[in-house]
Symmetry: C2
Subunit: 254 residues, 2 copies
């Protein structure tokens, strides 16, 4: 049974994709077999690894609609041990198109039940909303990882997200547990960053990872080269931070 | 007929709320009568002005569902001339709850048709998605302003957004025009920022505002005090930039 981790936060731009892509790549570099699923119509995780679904059928959309199986959608990346199920822009219509399906919250979970390849880790990157796509991701995974940007607005939405996680656990997925909260884009030079980080730790205590991801421009350059940070600049602070986060993902596991 | 401007971009964290709040406040400081509508379930624009809807009826949700009129929902802010229609967390369910309504794309436009107070500008802050809320905003307004963060991932989604704007103009709102694109969080110290800004100008030419908003920590501190930048730190580069953007909004008008 692989560990399945959804990376979610409805607040936009907090580092969900950067965290999902780089954690998946760090664990693959360390010899784990990792599958990353891109569930965001923006397709950022896919483009961050230089993969584009040839059409909607051969993307996670095809998997959820039943038009395709894993063997049609799984794509190799440049990293040994890291496979990707790319997203499709057509996912943007999922809220409307899937609204009538019987098991609309379980479409991804049902598809994953058919996955017979052997992986150690599954990661799911979510769009910035609490709509049907994020609910599918929370229903399909057993753990949720929440990146929180060290900014005021990012604090606000946390309570709403934790409520949604609790509701999904009650109604749809009793196995869902909180893996933890990772503070991202911490800029050590500003008081605001440090204050927000301190407040997150005060309110959420042991749920907050020790490892923190600093603001580091190399992390935002890497996707334009289609590379995770461990291939773009393995010695930068951003890469070291994601290896620390990956180690903590492992130690906080079952 | 007030100018009505939707601030939209499905990419998360690009500065939609910061732009909507600070443009609205700068124009109010300059003597304009401005109404800001917060259409994001995260309620960031509302909290950035220290306003919280007492209940869902007295928010933009009540307006769209017909439970309330403008007189019930309009709230004063600390800034003369700036009024706010706050958001409600219940908007998060709008995709599902409004899916069955006949005029589901026109709910905000129909409500605005009942507005009889005199304003010079209406701004609408959108959530990071192209769902029913953003479609309502694009259908209700006559102009759309797109903040684009000077980052690689932010470039990717632009084509999708411009497609959506074109589709809304064809099917729902023939008056909708592109007011322009504002580059945000430009960090002059990084090559990436300058390269992305140059690429945006190359592809989108005259649509791109001359005025650019630099990365400035004072802009991200202001909302934690419930203040727009022109009240929090009127002499910082972030404030000067938003006054420049406001001037350009006026000159690019009809
Ligand atoms: N630690 C960091 N340091 C510097 N830049 C970062 C860092 N983490 C992410 N970024 C950049 O910040 C922007 C937002 O990050 P990202 O796209 O990963 O967030 P997201 O939560 O996935 O956004 P969305 O809500 O749109 O899905 C991106 O341009 C990314 O390259
Ligand atoms: N020019 C700037 N300089 C520094 N920080 C900024 C700037 N503009 C916005 N910010 C900060 O960056 C974060 C993202 O901005 P904001 O919340 O306005 O984006 P958004 O597009 O509205 O996000 P969402 O997609 O979640 O609605 C916020 O914490 C904000 O305070
Ligand atoms: Mg993302
Ligand atoms: Mg916002």
């Amino acid at each position: 049974q692989p560990r399945s981790i959804t990376v979610a936060n409805q607040k936009g731009g907090v580092g969900k994709t950067t965290t999902a892509v780089n954690l998946a790549a760090c664990l693959a570099e360390a010899g784990q077999r990792v599958l990353l699923i891109d569930l965001d119509p923006q397709c950022n995780a896919s483009s961050g690894l230089a993969v584009r679904a040839p059409d909607r059928r051969r993307s996670v959309y095809g998997l959820m609609s039943g038009e395709a199986d894993f063997v049609d959608v799984i794509s190799h990346t440049g990293i040994d041990g890291l496979h990707l199920v790319p997203a499709s822009a057509d996912l943007a219509a999922a809220d409307v198109e899937l609204a009538g399906e019987d098991r609309r919250e379980y479409l991804l979970a049902d598809a994953l039940a058919r996955l017979d390849a052997a992986y150690d880790f599954l990661f799911i990157d979510c769009p910035p909303s609490l709509g049907i796509l994020t609910v599918n991701a929370l229903t399909a995974a057993r753990e949720v990882l929440v990146p929180v940007q060290a900014e005021y607005y990012a604090l606000e939405g946390l309570a709403m997200l934790l409520d949604t996680v609790a509701r999904v656990r009650e109604r749809l997925n009793p196995d869902l547990r909180m893996l933890g909260i990772v503070i991202t884009m911490l800029d050590g030079r500003t008081n605001l960053s440090r204050e927000v980080a301190a407040e997150v730790r005060e309110h959420l205590g042991a749920h907050v990872f020790e490892a923190v991801v600093p603001r580091n421009v190399r992390l935002s350059e890497a996707p334009s080269h289609g590379l995770p940070i461990c291939r773009y600049d393995p010695h930068c602070t951003g890469c070291e931070a994601y290896f620390d986060v990956a180690k903590e993902v492992v130690t906080r596991g079952f």
